[in-house]
């Protein structure tokens, strides 16, 4: 009799715990999607083109990026009109319809995964080599990109850096003649770095 009552109480408390757990689950999940990702709204991107004729650099400090520590998925969106060149004329050409048509295609996009995210402990200060696989979309053309980078963890914040080449012709930017064909490299080097924190 006594054990029966104890069992009953035990059963009820188990059920309550389960119910509470089930009720809490969606709340926890919602909380994760809102705050789980590392975010930066000031990603720095540099284009560097080098030819015997000249070296050209363009810098952009207004990119937005996210890193999901659970899955390793990363996304970057770069506002194309924020690239600043030393020469005003080059900046105008870069934005014009003949080159990147930034009014029609205002953002460049990278979507991918840090394939070795599981080897990193993002809760402990340290530096980790990262391998990123994904797709880059510029001017509405998408190509696969594979890049190496570094993720540095410091007090719950992530600093990332990566450098990789892109071939302009793959994004519909090709120069057959004139100054751009000799002064703009066929393959340009892209450097990305940023400081990320959970928002």
């Amino acid at each position: 009799m006594n054990t029966n009552i104890t069992n009953l109480i035990h059963n009820i408390s188990m059920k309550t715990t389960k119910l509470l757990f089930l009720a809490a689950l969606p709340i926890a999940l919602a909380f994760t999607t809102l705050t789980g990702k590392y975010v930066s709204r000031a990603v720095h991107t540099e284009f560097f083109s080098s030819t015997p004729a000249e070296d050209i650099r363009a810098n952009n400090y207004a990119g937005t990026g996210t890193i999901d520590p659970a899955t390793g998925s990363v996304a970057f969106s770069i506002p194309m009109q924020s690239f600043e060149f030393e020469k005003a004329l080059m900046q105008k050409h870069f934005n014009s319809a003949d080159f990147l048509d930034t009014q029609a295609f205002p953002k460049a996009k990278f979507k991918g995964t840090i394939s070795n995210i599981k080897t990193m402990d993002l809760n402990t200060n340290g530096s980790y080599p990262a391998q990123v696989e994904g797709e880059m979309t510029i001017k509405d053309k998408t190509n696969p990109v594979s890049a190496k980078g570094t993720i540095t963890v410091k007090d719950g914040k992530l600093s990332i850096e990566s450098k990789f080449p892109i071939t302009l012709a793959e994004y519909g930017v090709a120069f057959q003649k004139g100054k751009p064909s000799t002064n703009v490299a066929k393959t340009v080097e892209v450097t990305v770095n940023g400081d990320f924190a959970v928002e």
Binding site: A42, H44, K92, N95, K107
Partner: protein, 178 residues
Amino acid sequence: MTTATLWNTVNMTDRTTSHSNRHRIIRLVLLAVLAIAFIGGGYAYYLFNMPHRDVQRTATDARIDAATLVKEFLDDAAASNSKYLGAEGEGKVLEVTGTIEQVDKDLNERAVVVLRNGDMQAAIRCTFSESTNAEALELLVGTNVAIKGVIRAGASFDPDLELYEDIVLEQCAMVEPQ
């Protein structure tokens, strides 16, 4: 001015020595070619060294409230992009009014003042310049301000980022109260 000087040289030569008409025509043609080459070269030099547009010395295209601007982009991104962004990257020069949510520095050490009124889904990120940085870094969160700058990107929801991207305003400066 230079062309006029060259013309005078021609005339002076004419007065001191006598030449046949043929020589005179040849000289005129050479002079014309020289003048065109000079003007062409000068124009090319100008284009190559053309200064960047001085946003703060450019007339304001529109005065607008932060929330209204964000709503315009979220309602119709394509129409807003063609309305506000420039074909050659020279977007509209705007004076945006709003409440300061945050003052920060970017990786170029430029001050970034974030404007957000109430529950706006996206904010306005205003990046200042080397010459206007100091005034921006003194600003206090919660202050209502008007900031002038060039628009470089609109606001939109990005499904891959899973968040709203902010409007980007650059080459910014504070607008003096009227």
